[in-house]
């Protein structure tokens, strides 16, 4: 018996993106991204565990020296659980991590988590400020440059900007730091060049950290802007006679940003790592100076913990970048995989 056409139900998913929550693009994206984050975290944790075991020879011996009494070495090995089979050690390591136990410093006997907790705020402040400054400078600059040097315009501006940003991007952050110390600390004496006691002490370290990434980011954004400004949909926006500012900021910029975000994420990850160098230039009391000291002193548990902290920071940045990308450009959620 033929059904009347009105009784035939229309396809429920056409034009109804929220139907079936399990297949919603955001959910699928979230699951995939979380999965990737967890896998990377696992690799990071395993790598930091292996770091000590990759050291040629006996790490305890290496830390204590060839003439240390054998009893001492044995005791230390026992204490660190190094006599257990590797898999058992690994499990203990993971267990300890979950409970927040990062071990004990071989040198100061303090719990590593305490050391990390003490030094983390200074590094976080530096990294966050550096990140903010870099982005706040790079995005408007990149957009402005992109508009100024769009097809057929501003040849000279382009050359000047590109040269400057290339040079600034190549100079390593610690060199910029040294130069800043020399100019503003030694010669002019305007700004403090060590420690983090006064607000003005933040200026130079943040600058040293942010200048390079800002230069590279603005370069990328400029190139992407120029390319996007040539796109069809920008022509459409112009055809709609929208004011230029709306065309640049509401149409061109989001698309330029999506293209810049991936690289931007890598650059910001490098900025976080840059705190190690900058902290050492400016005697900044953070994780960066601690890890260097610990490596020199062969204080492995501390090094392990700080490597973990930095690694987690980088992974988080990458994840945030992917989420931001998904928010800005929903197509990327589908493209993933």
């Amino acid at each position: 018996m033929a059904l009347p056409s009105s009784a035939v139900a229309p396809d429920p998913t056409v034009g109804r993106p929220l139907a079936g929550i399990g297949t919603h693009p955001w959910v699928r994206f979230g699951v995939r991204r979380l999965g990737r984050l967890l896998v990377s975290l696992w690799v990071l944790v395993t790598a930091s565990f292996l770091m000590i075991h990759l050291i040629p020879g006996d790490p305890v011996r290496a830390a204590l020296g060839p003439t240390a009494p054998a009893a001492l070495v044995a005791a230390k090995r026992e204490a660190l659980g190094l006599n257990d089979p590797l898999a058992v050690q690994y499990l203990h390591y993971l267990q300890d991590l979950f409970t927040g136990d990062l071990g004990t410093s071989l040198i100061s006997q303090l719990p590593v988590s305490q050391v990390v907790a003490q030094r983390l705020p200074a590094t976080l402040q530096l990294a966050l400020l550096g990140f903010l400054v870099a982005v706040i400078v790079a995005v408007p600059l990149g957009v402005a440059m992109g508009v100024a040097t769009r097809r057929g315009h501003g040849r000279r501006t382009e050359l000047a900007f590109t040269t400057t940003s290339v040079v600034l991007g190549i100079i390593p952050d610690f060199l910029i730091g040294v130069l800043l110390v020399f100019v503003f600390g030694v010669s002019l004496g305007w700004l403090p060049v060590a420690g983090n006691d006064t607000p003005s002490a933040y200026v130079l370290p943040v600058l040293a950290l942010a200048i390079g990434p800002a230069a590279i980011l603005s370069r990328i954004i400029r190139v992407e802007m120029v390319s996007v400004l040539d796109a069809d949909f920008v022509r459409t926006a112009r055809a709609k006679r929208l004011p230029p500012r709306t065309v640049y900021v509401r149409h061109a910029l989001p698309n330029a940003l999506t293209a810049s975000l991936t690289l931007g994420g890598l650059i910001l990850g490098a900025l976080v790592a840059g705190t190690v160098l900058v902290e050492n230039v400016f005697a900044w009391p953070g994780l960066g100076s601690t890890i260097v000291q610990s490596i020199l002193n062969k204080d492995y548990p501390v090094v392990q913990a700080i490597v973990l902290v930095y690694g987690v920071g980088v992974l988080l940045i990458n994840t945030l970048v992917d989420v931001a990308l998904a928010v800005l450009d929903p197509r990327s959620m589908i493209r993933e995989g």
Partner: protein, 643 residues
């Protein structure tokens, strides 16, 4: 070789090359010449400032810092090169592994490399520094291995590119082993980009080494590289700043030189740089050099007030690499209220540029000149004001060719339509969205409320084109300019879009300018047709007369070239021999002469003017209407006689 020389031609390339050679020379020669000077201890002159004998002052042992900096070049460069070598070799192994190992293990390696690449190099270097210990050897291994993932990724991409090529597949089919293919075919082809990237990598390794030594983790006493000198120098920066500045500047110069050298080569050889960070002056741009071209004036037409569009003597010129490009060379036409005018021609005829010009969308790069360019009484030659913007935004609708790329992929469809109303009609967000939904419905998009919240990629091509039309209808347009609106669509969808356009025309009396290379489309939709060739209008006739009463040889050839239901399937398809004229190089005389079967000497010498006949039709040809023998034409056309 010539490509390499081109590198030296740019100022940056030249400077970088000179500096790099200088650094290498210094690395080789400085220790030979100045080791003694660098090692001379003088404890009576500790931490002295710069002076005539010691250009950069002295260190804690009274040794000359300037000479120490020079001598340190060798160690710094050697270590950097060693680290780069390690990075490249390991990277090569990682990158060729997927090719050699097959899918599953290859994927594991790829995944591993991808995870490693996400971590900044310094972090990896610190990790390996712990494993390998501090000191020069440990640091070399650390920096080398830290750079390996990057090279691995690059190699992977390059290998994948080559592996996909035909000759590799052929070799594989022929049973050649993977390793052999790798060495014989793949590696030689990726050598060049690898070397260039390695040069840039050497620059980065140099800087990384300076960083590690600066931290105290690299070169240890009594050896010294620039980083170690910096480490010493910064501790005494207040006493003798030159102690830090000298090695700092050295690092800077050498690092910059190597990096820029590599990037210049990359640019010169057209090689992509790993990491995707754009190389120098990436975006191509046009040189300036517009030329003012003059045109013989066309007779003045009437200034009828129900003309929607009145164009007189429109010329559009663009700057080109070898002189100005005259895309439109003086055309005049009008479009009346509710009238549909089609513009046909091959690519390069100037029809799209005309569409842009009458929509005021040519942009800063092109020059638009006209004796008259009026849209509904507004002179489009004036600079754009807010009033003009609002006017154009509501009275003129544009439909572009490629619906796939004509919408902003990052914004929802509804808001892109609503934007028009918010900016030009002062509507608030809700009312504008309501109107947008309404327009979407008007162009027959089903479920418009849902659709308005979707993104463009969720629409099909035809739907997007209709949405584009709907966007044009947000105002109350008097004119729709459609540039190849159906070219990118399926035939069935084409029909829907054309029907829509027709409906809008009849319902609201909206004029239409339809540009297409497809004569059949134009014939179906338009009242009148302008045929353009090489930036000029060569014929202006009613659409109905296209098949039967075309007079210009080009028009007739265009019509004949379209197969229809009665075309003889046994005969080859009719074509117009020859190629369209290059807009940068327009010949004297009639532009079509080279391909025209009716061309005579006069045609080649003199450009025929566009002459208006009594019925209002125009044609520009010395031999208009003469019988012609379109080569390989269908039988029907051979019997047609021009009126």
């Amino acid at each position: 070789m010539g490509r390499w020389r081109s590198v030296l031609r740019t100022p940056i390339g030249l400077t970088a090359s000179v500096l790099t050679v200088g650094v290498l020379l210094l690395a080789a020669l400085a220790p030979v010449m100045w080791t003694d000077d660098a090692n001379a201890v003088d404890t009576s002159n500790i931490l002295a400032g710069p002076s005539a004998q010691h250009w950069a002052g002295t260190d804690n042992l009274g040794r000359d810092i300037f000479f120490r900096t020079l001598v340190a070049t060798r160690l710094s460069v050697e270590l950097a090169l060693a680290a780069t070598a390690i990075g490249v070799v390991v990277g090569l192994l990682l990158g060729t592994a997927p090719f050699l190992l097959g899918r599953r293990s290859g994927r594991l390696v790829t995944a591993g490399v991808n995870i490693a690449v996400a971590f900044p190099g310094l972090l990896l270097a610190l990790f390996f520094a712990v494993v390998f210990g501090i000191g020069a050897t440990g640091a070399v291994l650390a920096i080398g291995l830290a750079g390996a993932p990057g090279f691995g990724r690059l190699t992977q991409t390059l290998v994948a590119g080559i592996a996909a090529r035909d000759f590799v597949s052929a070799a594989r089919l022929a049973g050649v082993g993977r390793v052999r293919i790798l060495f014989r075919h793949v590696l030689p082809n990726i050598a060049e980009p690898l070397v260039v990237n390695a040069t840039i990598g050497a620059g980065s390794a140099l800087l990384a080494f300076a960083g590690l030594s600066f931290l105290g983790l690299g070169v240890q006493q009594p050896a010294y590289d620039w980083g170690r000198l910096l480490f010493d120098g910064i501790q005494v920066i207040y006493v003798n700043p030159a102690a830090a500045l000298a090695p700092g500047i050295a690092v800077l110069i050498a690092g910059l030189a190597l990096n820029l050298f590599g990037e210049s080569i990359a640019k010169g050889l057209g090689i992509g740089v790993a990491g995707g960070i754009p190389a120098l002056t990436d975006v191509p741009d046009l040189t300036r050099g517009a030329d003012r071209s003059t045109q013989s004036p066309e007779p003045a037409g009437n200034t009828d007030s129900h003309l929607v569009l009145d164009v007189r003597d429109l010329q559009v010129t663009f700057p080109g690499p070898s002189g100005p490009i005259r895309a439109v060379r003086g055309i005049s036409f009008t479009v009346g209220k509710g009238e549909a005018v089609g513009i046909v021609g091959e690519s390069g005829s100037g029809k799209s540029v005309t569409a842009l010009a009458v929509s005021h969308l040519v942009g800063d790069t092109g020059r638009v000149d006209a004796r008259r360019l009026d849209l509904l009484g507004t002179d489009l030659r004036d600079d754009e004001t807010t009033a003009t913007r609002h006017f154009l935004g509501t009275s003129l609708a544009m439909v572009f060719q490629d619906p796939m790329t004509s919408f902003n992929p990052t914004r929802r469809m509804g808001s892109q339509l609503a934007e028009v109303a918010r900016h030009h009609q002062g509507l608030d967000r809700r009312s504008a969205m309501e109107r947008a939904v309404g327009r979407l419905g008007a162009v027959r998009i089903p479920d418009p409320e849902q659709r308005a919240h979707q993104y463009p990629h969720e629409f099909s091509g035809g739907m997007r084109q209709r949405a584009m039309i709907g966007m044009g209808l947000m105002g109350s347009p008097s004119l729709i300019v459609a540039d190849e609106p159906t070219t990118a669509l399926d035939v069935t969808v084409q029909q829907q879009v054309l029907d829509l356009l027709r409906t809008i025309r009849t319902d609201d009396d909206v004029a239409l300018v339809l540009i297409s290379h497809d004569v059949t489309v134009v014939r179906e939709v338009c009242d009148r047709v302008l045929v353009m060739y090489a930036g000029r209008i060569v014929e202006d006739l009613p659409a109905g007369d296209l098949a039967t009463a075309a007079r210009h040889p080009y028009t007739r050839a265009l019509v004949a070239a379209v197969p229809d239901m009665e075309t003889d399937l046994d005969q080859p398809l009719a074509v117009i021999p020859g190629r369209p004229v290059d807009a940068a190089d327009v010949p004297a005389g009639c532009a079509f002469a080279a391909r025209c079967p009716l061309a005579s000497a006069r045609c080649r010498a003199e450009d025929p003017p566009l002459e208006t006949s009594a019925a209002g039709r125009r044609v520009a040809c010395w031999h208009a209407g003469e019988p012609m023998d379109v080569r390989i034409e269908s039988r029907r056309l051979a019997e047609v006689e021009a009126p």
